[in-house]
């Protein structure tokens, strides 16, 4: 069938099952937007207000649905505005296909208007990228793009398409890129038997569950393995929603602001089985003092992660679901009662010293933890919580009790402030029937505040919870603890957020009195339309437990 390159782009997306695209038009991507106009019944285009919002919305869409997120941008500034989101997706393994317009091929290298070498710029932050200069190459390149975005460890790809390629004619024929042979990650049985033997003989085993569990849909397999052998499960930030938080084997969150018990017990376990996680420095703390006593089994789909930070006793380069189902065959039932008691004792200590005081309501101040705990109870842990970066994120992950997977959407690896609001838009587009709560601080919300307009335009009932301490709270905490209280440029003179949200046409309310908090949260959650709730929280709150930089996991502090 004869068509233009631009029509081929849209047709290819339809063939890949894409229903939603986030984007922003401009000069060099005009032909594609013209082709999209004809197919707007098939592809819903969300007009964002900044390309960074577009790519982050695509991330929220992908993370909350398991599908590929797609975004469009024009050349030059449009494309360079995607960079932060692409880097974010690279670190958090989010499957994205970013399509950028490029100046006509005859103009490349002439410093033409809105020309930027986006392929060169994004080489280190994409799994793959490619510049198309001929219309006839478009279908095959887009097919490859979707394949590379999802194959193995997912990640972002970028396809840069010159304007003349979009306008040229081709004979359209779409073939999905040949999938990798299905047994690419097969391992011999003996390896699973060996690992199972280690787990069967272990006296103090610990499972570390990461993002890979959710990405290979292995949540139930993890649950079965943990239950069969009665092994405690600790989760990374992105692994948190992959194991029910109310399960007796769940021992909490790993890392710098994680829970007391799993961090300390990491340095007491005799066998650690890490699945779909990459031993990030925020998880391990000081590597030279990390789990030296343990035999570490590391299962990851990315070969380059094996032995990158932590040397493993048994490395296994494979898919989490496959590995867990195989292990389940060989693992024997066990109890590990004494070992599990130790976690409970440490949890009780954290509960008494940190959690209980934080959750106890006071007369004149509201704490972030109290707000999140209230939202968690009122949504029964079933909402999608999209958190930003900083203290608000730490409160969300510590106090929201996740009950199902694909529910905790946040920027983990890159720590991108401004992520939550656009990502919540993407999450709501992918999950119209689930409650989506965006949790942000007063710093981060202002980095992509313009996307409130999208919430209004798309009539998305996203609930925005602003935890306002009029500070860049996490930076302030570090300055207080490690820089002798020299508060260098962290206090913010903020706009009237309630009036601002109202100006965008979004229902809004501000709460500073603890007595009003419950009614405000109830009102927010009951709202059938978007709702912006600003909660004025304690200014000088600090997040604990905390593992200072350079400290070992078992040197985590409760105060």
């Amino acid at each position: 069938m004869k068509m233009t390159g631009a029509q081929a782009i849209i047709e290819s997306l339809i063939q890949e099952g894409i229903e939603v695209v986030f984007g922003y038009p401009g000069g060099t991507i005009l032909p594609t937007y013209d082709a999209l106009f004809e197919k707007k019944d098939k592809i819903h285009h969300v007009l964002v207000r900044h390309e960074q919002g577009g790519v982050m919305a695509a991330e929220g869409y992908a993370k909350s649905s398991g599908k590929v997120g797609v975004c469009f941008a024009t050349s030059g500034p449009g494309a360079t505005n995607l960079v932060t989101g692409i880097a974010d997706a690279m670190l958090d393994s989010v499957p994205l296909v970013c399509i950028t317009g490029q100046v006509a091929s005859s103009l490349i290298g002439t410093d033409a208007f809105q020309e930027a070498d986006i392929v060169g710029i994004t080489i280190p932050i994409t799994k793959w990228n490619y510049q198309v200069t001929r219309a006839e190459d478009i279908p095959s390149v887009i097919a490859k793009a979707f394949h590379y975005a999802t194959e193995g460890r997912p990640g972002p790809v970028l396809v840069d398409i010159t304007k003349d390629a979009q306008m040229g004619m081709l004979d359209y024929n779409y073939k999905k890129h040949k999938p990798r042979i299905s047994h690419a990650y097969d391992c011999p049985d003996i390896q699973f038997i060996q690992i199972a033997d280690m787990l069967n003989e272990a006296k103090r085993p610990l499972i570390l569950a990461g993002n890979g569990i959710g990405m290979s849909n292995a949540e139930n397999d993890l649950l079965k393995l943990a239950e069969k052998a009665t092994i405690p499960v600790a989760c990374t930030l992105h692994g948190l929603h992959n194991f029910p938080s109310d399960h007796e084997l769940f021992v909490g969150l790993l890392g710098m602001h994680g829970n007391y018990a799993p961090n300390i017990m990491t340095n007491q376990a005799d066998v650690i089985i890490a699945i779909g996680m990459r031993f990030d420095d925020r998880v391990t703390g000081n590597l030279t003092k990390y789990a030296k006593q343990a035999k570490i089994i590391h299962i990851d789909i990315d070969h380059a992660e094996i032995n990158k930070n932590v040397k493993s006793y048994i490395p296994l380069h494979t898919d989490a679901k496959y590995a867990l189902t195989q292990l389940l065959r060989y693992v024997q039932p066990n109890r590990h009662e004494q070992w599990r008691e130790k976690f409970k004792a440490l949890h009780n200590e954290e509960y008494q010293k940190v959690i209980l005081p934080e959750l106890t309501m006071q007369k004149d101040i509201i704490r972030m933890s109290q707000v999140i705990n209230m939202v968690s109870e009122k949504t029964e842990g079933k909402a999608i919580v999209v958190s930003d970066v900083g203290q608000n994120q730490m409160a969300a992950m510590r106090y929201y009790k996740f009950k199902q997977s694909k529910s905790h959407i946040t920027s983990g690896g890159l720590g991108t402030m401004g992520f939550a609001l656009p990502a919540a838009i993407g999450a709501k587009m992918a999950n119209p029937d689930r409650e989506v709560v965006c949790v942000a601080g007063d710093g981060g919300i202002q980095m992509n505040i313009q996307e409130l307009a999208v919430i209004k335009q798309e009539k998305l009932p996203v609930k925005i919870l602003l935890l306002n301490n009029n500070y860049l709270g996490m930076v302030r905490q570090w300055q207080e603890m490690f820089y002798e209280e020299r508060y260098s440029f962290v206090d913010l003179v903020n706009p009237d957020f309630v009036a601002l949200a109202a100006a965008y046409g979004i229902k809004s309310r501000k709460v500073s009195n603890p007595e009003e908090l419950e009614s405000a949260v109830t009102e927010m959650l009951a709202s059938k339309e978007a709702y912006f709730l600003e909660v004025v929280v304690e200014k000088r709150e600090k997040v604990f437990p905390m593992m200072p930089v350079g400290a070992a996991v078992d040197e985590i502090r409760l105060s």
């Binding site: 080489i123 280190p124 070969h303 380059a304």
Partner: protein
Amino acid sequence: MDKKHAHDMHIISIVTRNSLRVLQRISGLFSRYSVNIDQMSIFSGQDELSHFSIIVYSDDHSIQKLTNQLHKIIEVCDVRVLNNQKF
């Protein structure tokens, strides 16, 4: 002893599909992992493949991390560290 001679010499042989940007992808990883390229030759054969021979002085762990990442470049077909001797 200067940095060059403090480390072992490695010859890294890489076979890639011959496409634009592949040199940029490869050299970018070397600089990211702070492995300085001492000598490099590239040969493009009839088979649409490019053959890289790169001589570097570095420690084994850096070379291992670097080669793990080189394998992830889609256009890269093969990576081998050919020899490893004190120079």
